[in-house]
Symmetry: none
Subunit: 216 residues, 4 copies
DNA sequence: CATGAATGAGGTTTCATTCAT
DNA sequence: CATGAATGAAACCTCATTCAT
């Protein structure tokens, strides 16, 4: 039987973990604010309140740090998706909730949007190099497939809906509005980020998605 | 009226224009490939086949160069939008064409997507500083409003459709798919850029938009 | 006399000795491969399979570690020289054996050559600081003096041979060939490290040395 | 007919050349004093009295700068070798002059020795990458071959002398003494760098080389 | 005896920008 | 209009070394 780790060892371990986590959060913020090219390792260290050298100690270099941040971002959203329990709801309500969830998650996690943009600017090579990439696959696709199937079975949903297309559309409706809100606001001279505007957008998106899936 | 320029002066002017344009295109490519932070003035000069100093001569600095690129990108898409002539078509067909146009433009101008992303990463400050910003406003909103109104009048479209929301949704459906195709492909292990996938997406998007606007 | 150490303490001591030795060997390899400036304490620790902190515990710092490595290198070659027993041989044979020994030692201990180069690059300050420096003096000089004297006495060797000059010449003939073999090979486009080339060099060197010392 | 370059262009060109040369000399000194690993780009810039960035502008990086320095060092010694005109002398005198020249060159160019040492520490990869490597081949080998042949023909030189071996031996006799003078001095507690010691060494080396080549 | 975590100073390199012509 | 040479600031990263246990 192994002896329990001494408090000291435990503490040390926890410190290492804590440091890594602090760095990860600081890096996430920096990358999401400035992009991969504009992010500064110095600022990340400063944000984390830790020595710059430590970042290299744990994450090797900027690229790999970005990769770690990206993986963490996916892990975070997947963790929240897990809690949705959409299959307990009737199909129409489930879709409504999914639209709502997606909207709210993007709204509350603007860094997720910019991180994704950065990842795509770099042609997702950071994901391609990630061994955990496939684990980041959303379980929502399978869930959506079942919801669609049920709606179809009960006669409320139209046939021929591709779950991936639907998923992408639901995401896209929120994503574009929020990710591009600055240019949209500048060009249309209209503030898209008021609570009222948010409610209108959410309502519109539900109408679009349900207008599509529901049998007329 | 001013006197006509001498031939020599004229030629020099044309050279100047040509150089500026060459730089603008080189910069657009560089910015769209690497983002604002990742773009390199050296590379832009190299791409343009012109001396670096000339870029500063015409565009002052990197920021203003990016601003110029952004304005040009908007001018380009607006020029193409002008040609759509949607009001000659019946409302449903007009919407279909708009979805199609948006999709094709984004598909053929991937740099437009990444430029927009960069602009938004920087909170559109380059547009805010642009005096021509309001000229970049899409005339499509007004056109869309009229299409919606006509559809409503003839009884085929539902009521209460906000043209801006619809515009954003049409754009978002294409945008997310194309802009994020690298991460989506990596995570879903599915190639989204085959001609077949493109057709499916376009068809799906039309279904979504029309499913939404058409009276059931 | 001190009381004998307890077995446990003894073992610990042996461990300590072993660790120091392991470090010394790892450091020797690292220094000889990369020079003093290019050597990395991290790599030394890794090579030794021991914690970096331990190196500092035993050797204080990089400079002193290099000094220790250098002293050890001299101690090693002196130990082998001890075994030569040149005085049992007749003068000519003794010289032949010395040339041969020098050649073989350098050939089998390439690290010795690069360590010496590093030491000289730093103007031998590591030896100057070594209290054991004078112990590193080669006993070969005295031996050589006696060999020369005997050869002179028996009438086979020429007069006026300075043992130190002869020693340096014997060393230099091997040293230059082996230490500079990479540049020589590159420039003369000829592989100097084949067994055949080695034999030819050894034979040539004996001819040179004996051609010099022997009365004609 | 091309017009002569304007003074301005000429000046600029000369400045560029001059800057490169200044850097090369500063780098040579720094590399020879500290080795490749110990050399500091900062110090090279300071020695050259030029901006550090300029070094990268002209030489790309530290490795390539070292390569350029090495090539220059070879070019320098080859240039001096050209002037020897050994074939005008009788064979014995020619060899004497070669020994003398080699000794003096090494004595007056101690940086050449340390540069060679550094090059060899790195396994001459800087030469291997040099496209001009083969041009650095010493013409002395061919000259030596002819001298040997003439000495043999006139009956003063022994047969079977390999010019490359002889060249290496002549170089090695000077090289070891000068390159390792610090460790030798430290260990033998004897100053090898007095004029008197130098004369003795030169005299000894001539005796060794001539003792070898001359028929007894 | 031994170690993983942490650091400050400094290293190489890069970058936007300017100079001089 | 156009250019090659030059620069200061700052970027990423490395290194010898120390801390805390």
């Amino acid at each position: 039987m192994s002896t329990p780790p001494t408090p000291a060892a435990e503490e040390r371990l926890r410190d290492a973990d804590r440091s890594q986590n602090t760095i990860l959060i600081a890096a996430r913020d920096e990358f999401s604010e400035h992009g991969l090219g504009g992010a500064r390792m110095d600022r990340i260290a400063e944000r984390a309140g830790l020595n710059k050298r430590l970042i290299y100690y744990y994450f090797e270099d900027k690229e790999r740090l970005f990769q770690a941040v990206l993986e963490q971002a996916y892990r975070d959203i997947r963790a929240e998706e897990q809690q949705l329990n959409l299959l307990h709801l009737k199909p129409e309500t489930a879709l409504r909730r999914l639209v709502e969830f997606t909207w709210n998650y993007y709204l509350e996690h603007p860094e997720f949007l910019t991180l994704l943009n950065s990842a795509n600017l770099h042609r997702a090579r950071h994901l391609a190099q990630s061994e955990r990439a496939r684990q980041l696959n959303s379980p929502l696709i399978a869930t959506l497939a079942e919801i669609i199937e049920r709606g179809r079975a009960e006669g409320t949903f139209r046939g021929g809906i591709d779950p991936l297309q639907l998923y992408v559309s639901i995401a896209g409706l929120s994503y574009f509005y929020l990710s591009n809100n600055h240019t949209l606001s500048a060009i249309f001279e209209r503030d898209l980020m008021t609570p009222k505007a948010h409610n209108e957008r959410l309502s519109h998106m539900c109408d679009v998605i349900l207008g599509y899936v529901l049998m007329s």
